[in-house]
């Protein structure tokens, strides 16, 4: 019996924490992750109205951790939506690492930068994280750096109101010139130097300068101008309306999620603009000031959050590293390649068709409903994940004759899985699905046909053949050492026999029912005939019987 003096009663908060942690770490009967994201509703008292109201929250934590750090965030999503979003996330260790980092930095208003390979799912998880907070279908505000990013698209710009196509052409051509870039940067410098001017005076100065710019471009000096905010200030002051649309208020906006992709490709002037987002104590800036609007401040709403992502330098030709100043101003998380374990898990999810509803009827082109046979899917997933991994390793070294790099993504695998449902090749001898040939064909289409390096293509083709039919690809299956093709054939035969058996039985049952019905008809006719022949039955009754 425990010493009563050592008994400690847990507070309701502690009990709640334990309950949430148990849910975060929940696993299924086969050890599969079921937790990671938990939805809860809580009754809270509104501090202003003092009325009780129900608020919705999500808890996010890494279920692979023994002691996960759990972040609680308010959400606009419903429980059904959160459950649906959860089902769309393959529970890989890396996915939860990213989600956990997103939740934690969002809560503390810290900008997050994740550097990781394409396959890690940065964009996909940014999308899912936004949906988890706002509901299904709500996308973050995206901005993509490309190596020729226009800073004005990011921050702000003045656009002339041109009437004719010719004027538009003149202006766009002028904007692309070095002269225009120089003149615009001169305006910025002049306006910024005039510190003593009021905002209105600065705007008047900008207008004068813009008219000079219009003249240089060959436009009328009386050109009207329209001011347009870029992605950064827009995200700071966005308001998500109940109907799903967005409006903007530079002072009272609630803010929204801004995802700046491929920031490793950003040029110095873009980085300089992004550095304006750095605030105090590692947080996002409370406000930013733009010369373009005369120095008027744009406030950062409470829900504004900036997420940067980029690929590792080796995935870029010029080995673009993240700018050190930017890296210092954000929470910088570097992710490695997907682990083999995660790759297998993803392949298993795709080829056992766990991510979606299965077709109710066999689609056209489908010989065998493999989506109903997870035992086949699991074997396919082993082959595809090995092939995917091998090709990925080879592609990291680059291809002969190609400047562009083509990193593989999990989407490549998902495409093969989807196509496998209704693009199937029949074995002419057996009449059944030729799974090895179908897989070879689809891998060719989705993986190999895009390779420019013929030698690599040939090597990968021969590796795939070896994996499917060669001795080195053999594995133990039900006590025998077999090639993957042999295993596929056995599994397809079993699944097909079951199918044939099922339809044969159905046919037999139908025939039996029809026979029984016919027999019953004959029997009743016989009985009727014997009654009609019976002399003891009055004619009036026989007449009724005949009718």
């Amino acid at each position: 019996m425990p010493n009563p003096e050592t008994i400690r009663f847990k507070s309701p908060e502690e009990l709640k924490e334990e309950e949430i942690e148990t849910k975060i770490k929940e696993r299924g009967p086969e050890g599969e992750i079921l937790g990671g994201i938990v939805f809860e509703e809580e009754k809270v008292i509104d501090p202003e109205t003092k009325e009780e109201q129900i608020k919705k929250y999500i808890y996010i934590g890494n279920p692979y951790e023994e002691k996960p750090i759990i972040t609680k965030l308010e959400t606009e999503a419903t429980q059904e939506e959160v459950e649906a979003i959860k089902k769309e996330i393959i529970p890989m260790k890396e996915s939860f690492e990213i989600l956990e980092a997103m939740a934690r930095t969002y809560k503390h208003r810290q900008p997050l930068l994740i550097e990781g390979p394409t396959a890690i799912g940065k964009t996909y998880l940014a999308d899912k994280f936004t949906e988890l907070r706002y509901g299904k279908g709500v996308k973050p505000l995206d901005f993509y750096c490309s190596g020729q990013t226009d800073v004005s698209e990011l921050m702000a710009k003045w656009v002339p109101k041109v009437e004719t196509e010719e004027e538009k052409k003149k202006w766009n051509e002028f904007l692309e010139s070095a002269e225009a870039q120089e003149k615009i940067s001169q305006i910025a410098q002049e306006v910024e130097q005039e510190e003593k001017l009021s905002q209105e005076q600065k705007l008047a100065l900008i207008h004068t300068k813009l008219q000079e710019l219009a003249k240089s471009a060959g436009l009328s000096e009386k050109t009207q101008w329209r001011f347009q905010y870029g992605a950064v200030p827009k995200a700071m002051g966005l308001i998500k309306n109940p109907d799903g649309s967005f409006s903007f208020d530079e002072q009272k906006g609630t803010g929204f999620t801004l995802h700046i992709e491929e920031v490793g490709l950003a040029e110095p002037q873009v980085i300089n603009a992004l550095l304006k987002l750095r605030g105090r104590k590692g947080q996002l800036a409370e406000e930013i000031q733009l010369w373009e609007n005369g120095g008027k401040k744009v406030k950062s709403g409470p829900k504004f959050w900036a997420f940067f992502s980029t690929n590792p330098p080796e995935e870029y030709l010029a080995r673009n590293e993240v700018d050190p100043a930017l890296a210092r101003g954000v929470v910088f998380k570097r992710m490695g390649e997907l682990s083999e374990e995660s790759l297998h898990l993803a392949a298993d999810y795709y080829f056992t068709y766990k991510l979606s509803e299965k077709p109710k009827e066999k689609p056209e082109g489908c010989i065998l409903d493999i989506y109903n046979h997870p035992e086949i899917g699991r074997e396919i997933s082993k082959v595809v994940s090995i092939f995917h991994n091998e090709l990925n390793e080879a592609l990291k070294k680059g291809e002969k004759g190609r400047q562009q790099k083509i990193p593989l993504t999990l989407d490549d695998m998902a495409r093969v899985a989807d196509a496998l449902i209704d693009i199937q090749i029949r074995n002419k001898e057996t009449g059944r699905l030729d799974l090895a040939e179908t897989l070879r064909n689809l891998i060719h289409f989705y993986y190999l046909d895009r390779l420019a390096d013929e030698d690599l293509k040939e090597t990968m083709e021969s590796n795939l053949n070896e994996l499917l039919e060669g001795d080195t690809g053999k594995i133990e299956f039900e006590g025998k050492l077999l090639t993957r093709k042999e295993i596929f054939d056995i599994l397809v035969e079993r699944a097909s026999i079951t199918e044939e058996e099922k339809s044969r039985r159905e046919k037999e049952e139908k025939e039996t029912r029809e026979r029984q019905l016919k027999q019953a008809q004959f029997d009743s006719q016989d009985a009727l005939n014997s009654l009609l022949k019976n002399l003891k039955i009055p004619e009036s009754v026989k007449k009724v019987l005949q009718e």
Partner: protein, 155 residues
């Protein structure tokens, strides 16, 4: 031109994915260096399968105009055949990436909206056509191929 390959290419583009998001792919047709095929012939061949509008992206056209044309074509539930003849500018690349990532457009201050969002209609798709040498030597965006699902190589 191998009709069977083109047929499969169109079929794969028409596919609505269940295992991945977004559910539609963008397609890429690459004309290899030695190919003699005319781009017009390719778009005409595709026209036999689907209702498609050809848009040429070259020095004569600005990104905003191409975006307007694609939005307009999608609003008519038609496919787009986008022939790339100059390096892709930041505004168009933003939209191509958004289409590839989310099957939707996301434009700031467009058509009177602070944020304009337009889903790619179920019956529309986008095919980009470019020459291999052009992609390798003139497109500065290093992950160009990553925007697309099926790729058809014309030899």
């Amino acid at each position: 031109m191998e009709k069977q390959k083109l047929n499969t290419f169109i079929h794969l583009l028409q596919k609505v994915f269940t295992q991945k998001q977004p559910v539609f792919d963008l397609g890429l047709i690459v004309k290899e260096s030695k190919s003699q095929i005319e781009v017009k012939k390719v778009s005409e061949e595709i026209k036999k399968f689907v209702d498609i509008e050809r848009i040429v992206y070259d020095e004569k056209i600005f990104d905003e105009d191409v975006i307007d044309k694609i939005v307009d074509t999608f609003s008519k539930n038609r496919w787009v055949f986008l022939e790339i003849k100059k390096d892709i500018g930041s505004p168009l690349l933003n939209q191509l990436k958004h289409l590839a990532n989310y099957n939707s457009f996301q434009l700031i201050d467009y058509q009177g909206k602070d944020i304009f969002e337009m889903k790619m209609p179920e019956n529309s798709r986008l095919i980009v056509f470019a020459e291999r040498d052009f992609i390798e030597n003139r497109i500065s965006y290093p992950h160009f191929y990553g925007l697309f699902g099926p790729t058809l190589s014309l030899k």
